[in-house]
């Protein structure tokens, strides 16, 4: 299960590293033709979305942009979420089937019995 951090800045630092000293934020959404430039001093990072899709980012700005856009899933967390969801579904289905089975083969009493 993903761990929600207190603020989006903390999440960005967790995934992208500390903000560079000379970092300049740009309004990417207002420019539909924006192209991210590679930062050779920035070690590329692999990010994941909720479906497990991966993307490599090559600059802090690009990383920040993706993380803000929901690419903030850690694969192990995603896997665990999947397993816990599966166990949840398994429990629900088993109880429903068990309920039907017991009702069919045994006497079902009322609260007042």
């Amino acid at each position: 299960m993903s761990k929600k951090l207190n603020s989006s800045k903390e999440i960005i630092v967790q995934f992208c590293g500390e903000y560079p000293a000379d970092f300049e934020n740009k309004d990417i959404l207002s420019d539909p033709n924006f192209v991210f430039e590679n930062d050779i001093s920035y070690e590329s990072i692999k990010l994941f979305d909720i479906d497990g899709n991966a993307v490599f980012v090559n600059s802090f700005l690009e990383c920040q942009h993706y993380v803000k856009g929901g690419w903030d899933y850690i694969p192990s967390q995603r896997n665990e979420s999947f397993y816990y969801n599966s166990l949840f579904m398994f429990s629900i289905v088993s109880v429903v089937l068990g309920f039907i089975f017991i009702k069919k083969y045994f006497r079902w009493g009322n609260l007042s019995d």
Partner: protein, 647 residues
């Protein structure tokens, strides 16, 4: 329809699957193959979560049987890492092999395994499922979730990527426990009326979830208890008093946040001491105990002593076999822990009859977490055999192996109190049967007294009364902290100011403690026991020890030897009851128990003797902290109470 025999094979197949598959899954498509284990552990440090336990064992067969390997669980692991090696460490000559498991998955695997095992007991025909059970299941799941939420400090270390501060996670937990509660109720409650004859097997199938602080049976009994409260107006009336008590216990914990590592009493001890943990845990325990009471007392026949005897013998054999094999074979030790839900790994001491440096016999606990409790179990088995010796005209073959096994178990456990009380019960039983004359009675009691004096050692009677009766208080002062003494030690230190009667009772208690070698342990208890007046009267809540172990700092080393003190329990159920329910609770308990014994001594001498044996032993042991012994003892007392009707 599937026939019974086929169904048994299907169940066996599933059991085998659960044992083998989870510890065999691995990514076989990768190029990582297990290597022979040596002191160069780089390979296993690099390739974590890549090799399954069974894959590793095939390459390293010696790990199965060489006792310098220890296979240990790492419950804080990803589900994808389940059953795989998460690391190997070497300390001295011992290798510690860590196997990844996941606490949530354990809940499912262990529940399914245990319920399939229980389902081998024949079904009864008149089972019916009531609507109230569904509501009780929901309530049980809710209360367990609250307990887990309140014990965050413990659970944060065992739940991997599962944030219990999130509502979503708590809802998941709720559904998981609803699933377990629903099926455990169906499987256990639909079994034969004679289910309680199988009670001794709970010493094998202990049923604590790996990584969790809860027994499977607690969930089941809580469901039954809740259902009873819903149905019975009288119990609901009594419950208003319980609500008041729970509020009092919880109120005492406001603003505090103590923690206790539960160690071998996991499952029957709250790990936290705060308002929420005390209130939720108290309700869980009280409703579960009520559930146990209802489960036992509502049966037409509680148990058949003859069948119980055979199951005692079989269980004893298994206890010694699994304990001994587990002590020498790391894999068996590992599987015992996981698949039978032990609270503590079985011993690695292979010497059943070992003696220490001073030539004293060392207690061998084998499979069970406590040597003392398992010693009581073996002695109980022997008493039942003795009591039933005339019932069967033919000699039973099972006794050829049964009696020596029980004797070996009792001797290995080195439980002298159990041995003496066993002899006492033999003499009392003969007295019941033959209505002995006073001289013969004394003649038979003489060896018991002789053995008692021998165990106590005659020289201990030669100390001055002042020394022996004050020893316990002295030890309490010695272990305590000069700057912050517990209120109980302060009280005991100033006994001269109290009334003569109280002084006499405490000094007698101290003298008794000295004789049975409990001066130090009970002294340590009082060094820690720090109640205020109302808490001394009403206690601090059922099976809650976190405040007791955290409130007062005492020496962490033994006074005379300087060895680490470790986690020492009170070693007296009477003291534990006083801690949980206060002096009033203890007095009510003792009066009620003596009343049951008094009433039952003529209606059913056999059950009376069993109950007497239990009472004598629990006064100096911690057996109530283990669900198998707690439930067995409770069942025997309830049987004695109902003895007119049932046996």
């Amino acid at each position: 329809m599937i026939k019974d025999k086929q169904l048994k094979y299907i169940k066996l197949f599933f059991l085998l699957l659960i044992i083998i598959v989870p510890f065999s899954i691995s990514d076989f498509s990768d190029q990582i193959r297990p290597e022979k284990i040596t002191s160069d552990l780089r390979f296993y440090e690099i390739n974590t979560c890549s090799i399954s336990l069974n894959e590793f064992l095939i390459e390293n067969l010696n790990v199965i049987y060489q006792d310098h390997y220890k296979i240990r669980f790492n419950n804080y692991s990803s589900i994808s890492c389940f059953g795989q090696i998460t690391g190997i460490d070497q300390i001295g000559y011992t290798f510690y092999i860590s196997i990844g498991t996941n606490t949530i998955l354990n809940l499912f695997l262990q529940s399914i395994f245990w319920l399939i095992l229980i389902s081998f007991i024949p079904k009864r025909k008149n089972f019916e499922f009531k609507n109230s059970i569904l509501f009780s299941n929901l309530f049980t799941a809710f209360i367990v979730c609250v307990v887990i939420y309140a014990e965050q400090r413990y659970y944060s270390k065992v739940l991997f990527e599962f944030d219990i501060n999130k509502n979503r996670s708590l809802f998941f937990l709720f559904i998981y426990f609803f699933f377990i509660g629903f099926f455990s109720f169906y499987v256990i409650q639909s079994r034969d009326e004679n289910l309680l004859n199988f009670l001794p097997f709970t010493y094998i199938l202990i049923g604590v979830y790996s990584g969790m602080n809860i027994y499977l049976l607690s969930i089941f009994f809580c469901t039954i208890g809740t259902s009873k409260i819903l149905k019975n107006k009288k119990i609901r009336k009594y419950f208003s008093f319980i609500n008041f008590l729970v509020f009092f216990w919880s109120f005492n914990a406001v603003g505090l946040d103590y923690y206790l590592k539960p160690d071998k009493i996991r499952g029957l001890s709250s790990t936290a001491y705060n308002f929420l943990s005390v209130s939720s845990w108290s309700y869980l325990m009280i409703i579960s105990i009520l559930g146990m009471y209802v489960f036992v007392s509502e049966r037409k026949v509680i148990f058949n002593l003859n069948k119980l005897k055979n199951n005692f013998i079989l269980t004893s054999m298994l206890l010694i076999l699994l304990g001994y094999v587990g002590s020498s074979m790391p894999v068996i030790n590992f599987y015992n822990y996981y698949f039978f839900g032990q609270t503590k790994y079985g011993t690695d001491n292979q010497d059943l009859f070992g003696v220490n440096f001073w030539g004293e016999t060392e207690a061998w606990r084998g499979y069970f977490p406590s040597a003392e409790t398992v010693g009581e179990f073996f002695a109980l088995g022997l008493i039942i055999i003795f009591l039933l010796r005339k019932e069967n005209k033919k000699f039973e073959k099972i006794l050829i192996f049964g009696i020596p096994t029980l004797l070996i178990g009792l001797y290995a456990s080195n439980n002298k109190a159990a041995f003496i009380s066993l002899l006492l019960c033999f003499v009392l039983s003969i007295n019941y049967e033959y209505k002995l004359k006073r001289v013969t009675k004394l003649f038979l009691l003489a060896p018991v007294v002789f053995v008692f004096v021998y165990f106590i050692r005659f020289e201990n009677f030669l100390y001055s009364l002042n020394f022996s009766s004050n020893k316990m208080i002295e030890m309490g002062i010695g272990y305590g902290n000069e700057s912050f003494r517990s209120s109980s030690i302060n009280y005991l230190q100033n006994l001269d100011e109290t009334s003569f009667l109280i002084k006499l009772i405490i000094l007698f208690f101290g003298f008794f403690a000295f004789l049975i070698n409990r001066s130090e342990l009970w002294g340590i208890f009082f060094a820690r026991y720090n109640p205020e007046t109302l808490e001394a009267l009403f206690g601090s809540g059922p099976f809650i020890l976190a405040n007791h172990y955290s409130e007062i700092n005492i020496l962490d080393k033994k006074l005379y030897t300087g060895t680490p003190l470790g986690f020492l329990l009170p070693h007296s159920s009477a003291l534990s009851i006083m801690l949980f329910f206060g002096l009033i609770g203890l007095i009510v308990f003792l009066i009620y128990v003596f009343y049951i014994l008094y009433k039952g001594r003529k209606t059913n001498p056999k059950l009376f003797l069993l109950s007497l044996f239990i009472l004598l032993n629990i006064l100096k042991s911690d057996s109530i902290f283990y669900l198998p012994s707690f439930f067995l003892y409770l069942t025997i007392f309830i049987s004695l109470k109902k003895s007119k009707k049932v046996i």
